[in-house]
Chain length 304, copies 2
C-alpha cells in the first residue's frame, strides 16, 4: 500500500474504531442487543467506507470535525448490518465472517436479525444526530436511504436471492453488484462530497470514480474467492462455484481484465476531477492500490 495512504489509514482508523467502540452503547437500551451489534461492528473490518468518506473530505481540504467523523462512521454501521443479515441462515447461511463465527452463530438468528435492524436505524440516527447544518444532514440521510434501501443495496440482495441458481448475463450481474456492494461504496464518496459542500453539478467525476471503484471491489472480491487464502481474507474461499461471479462468467483471466479496465476508468474519473475542480485526488487514487492486478494469466497465489 502506498505510504501516504498508509499514514492516512493509520491516523484515522483508530479514530473511527474509537467512535464505533464508544458511541453505540449510549444509544442502546438493551444489553444483549448492544453486545450483538457491537460484536459484529468491532469484528475487525478495514473501515474502507468511512475512510473513503474522510479521504474525500481531505481532497476538498475539509477539517474533519467530530460531527463529520460520526456521520462517516454511520456508514460502517449500515455496512455491518448488511453483513449480519447477508450471513443469516435464511440468506447465505455463512458460519464465518472476518475469521470469527457469524453473528447468528453466537447470538441466534432472531437476535442477529434484530442486531442488523438496530444497526440500520442507528446508521440513520448518526447521520442526523450531529452538529452539521440541517440541510447537509437531510442530504446525507436521503442519499443513505437511496443507497441502502430498495433502490440500492436491498435491491441487489433481492436479485442475489431471486437469481440464485440462474445464470445471469454480464449486464445483469453488473446491475446486481452495482446495487449490492456498489451503492454503499458510492455513498461513501457522496457523503464526503455532501459534507464538503460540493455542488451537485460538480459531483459527477468523483461519483464516477466511486461507481467504478465499487465495481472493481466486487470483481476483486470474486477473484479472491478463486485465488485467495482463507486465513488472509478471513472467510472460506471457493464458496462461489456455480454462483453468479465474474470469474464464473468471464473466466479468471477475463475477470482480471475486467478488473484492470474498471480500475482504469476509476483513475480516469479522478483525472477529470483534478482538471475540472482544481483538486488533488491522489489520496483517492491510492485506494486503488487495494487491488492487486495480475495482467498475465494467473499463476500463483495473490497476496494483499
Amino acid at each position: 500500500m502506498d505510504s501516504r495512504l498508509n499514514r492516512f489509514v493509520a491516523a484515522w482508523t483508530p479514530k473511527i474504531n474509537h467512535v464505533l467502540k464508544t458511541d453505540i452503547e449510549p444509544d442502546t437500551d438493551q444489553r444483549r442487543l448492544f453486545e450483538a451489534m457491537s460484536y459484529s461492528v468491532n469484528a475487525g473490518g478495514k473501515r474502507l467506507r468511512p475512510l473513503l468518506t474522510l479521504a474525500t473530505l481531505t481532497v476538498f481540504r475539509q477539517t474533519i470535525t467530530d460531527s463529520k467523523l460520526k456521520a462517516a462512521c454511520a456508514l460502517e454501521l449500515m455496512h455491518t448490518y448488511s453483513l449480519i443479515h447477508d450471513d443469516l441462515p435464511a440468506m447465505d447461511d455463512d458460519d464465518l465472517r472476518r475469521g470469527k463465527p457469524t453473528n447468528h452463530k453466537v447470538y441466534g438468528a432472531g437476535m442477529a436479525t434484530l442486531a442488523g435492524d438496530g444497526l440500520q436505524a442507528l446508521a440513520f440516527q448518526w447521520v442526523v444526530d450531529n452538529e452539521l447544518a440541517a440541510q447537509t444532514r437531510c442530504q446525507l440521510s436521503l442519499a443513505l436511504a437511496k443507497a441502502a434501501g430498495p433502490h440500492g443495496m436491498a435491491s441487489g440482495q433481492a436479485d442475489d436471492i431471486q437469481f440464485e441458481g440462474t445464470r445471469l448475463r454480464l449486464a445483469e450481474l453488473q446491475k446486481l453488484d452495482r446495487n449490492k456492494t456498489g451503492a454503499l461504496i458510492s455513498y461513501a464518496v457522496q457523503a464526503g462530497l455532501i459534507m464538503a459542500g460540493v455542488a451537485e453539478k460538480d459531483q459527477q467525476p468523483l461519483l464516477d470514480f466511486a461507481r467504478n471503484f465499487g465495481a472493481a471491489f466486487q470483481i476483486y472480491d470474486d477473484i479472491l474467492d478463486v485465488v485467495g487464502d482463507e486465513k488472509a481474507i478471513g472467510k472460506p474461499v471457493h464458496q462461489d462455484s456455480g454462483k453468479n461471479t465474474y470469474p464464473n462468467l468471464l473466466g479468471l483471466a477475463g475477470a482480471y481484465d475486467a478488473l484492470k479496465k474498471t480500475v482504469d476508468r476509476a483513475k480516469d474519473a479522478l483525472k477529470t476531477a483534478d482538471q475540472t475542480l482544481q483538486v488533488d485526488t491522489s489520496l483517492l487514487e491510492d485506494f486503488c492500490s487495494y487491488f492487486v492486478i495480475k495482467d498475465e494469466k494467473h499463476n500463483g497465489k495473490t497476496t494483499r
Copy 2:
C-alpha cells in the same frame, strides 16, 4: 367508534392507502422485492399510526399537505417492517397476519428479511424526501431513529427474545412493551408535534398521552388474545399462554383494570394539553374509543 373520529378516519384512510399503494414502486429497483414489500404494506392495516400523526396535526389546526401526509405514511412502512421481521421463523414464526399468510410464507424468509430491511430504509427516506423545512425533516428522522432503533422498538424486540420463557415482573414487562409497541405509537404523536412546530417545552402533555395510549394498546392486544375472536382480529388467538402478557401477570380482571387506569391517564394528559396549550384535543380522545373496557369480571366475548 365516535362519529367525528369515524369521519376523520373515512376521510384520511383512503389518502394514506393511496400513498402507500403508489409511492413504493418508484423507489424500488427490484420487482420481487417491491411485491414483497407491497404485499405486507397493503395487507389491510388500520393505519392507526399515520392517523394519529394526522390527528395531532389537526389538533394544532395544521393544513395536511402532501409532504406531511408522506412523512406520516413513513411510519406505516416502519410499522410494517417490524411486523414482517417479528413474524419470521427466527422470531415468532407466525403463519398468519391480518388474516393472510405472513410475508415469509409467501416470499420465503430471505426475501421477507429484505422486504423488512427495505421498508425500514424507505421509512427513513420518506421522512426526508419531501418539501418540509430541513430542520423539521432532521427532527423527524432523529425521533424516528430513536423510536425504531436500539433505543426503542428493536430493544423491546430483543427483550422479547431474550426473556422468552422467563417470567418478567410488571415493571420489566412495562419496559418491554414501552419499547416494543409504545415507541412507534409515541413517535406517531411526536411526528405531528414536530410538523406542527410545537416547541419542545410544550410537547410533554401530548407525549404523556401518547405514552399511555401506546401502553393501553399493548394491554388491550394482550386481552384480545384471551377474549378476542380470530376472525375479527385477523390472527390466531390464545397464542400467549405462558408468555409475558398482562392477563398472565395480573389475571384478566387485573388486566382490564390496568387498561382502564392507563386510558384514564391518557385522557388526563389530554386535559392538561387543552388547558396549557389552549387546544381542543377531543379528536385524539376519540381514539381511546378503540379500547372496549369491561369493568365487570369478563363474562362474554369482547366486540370492537
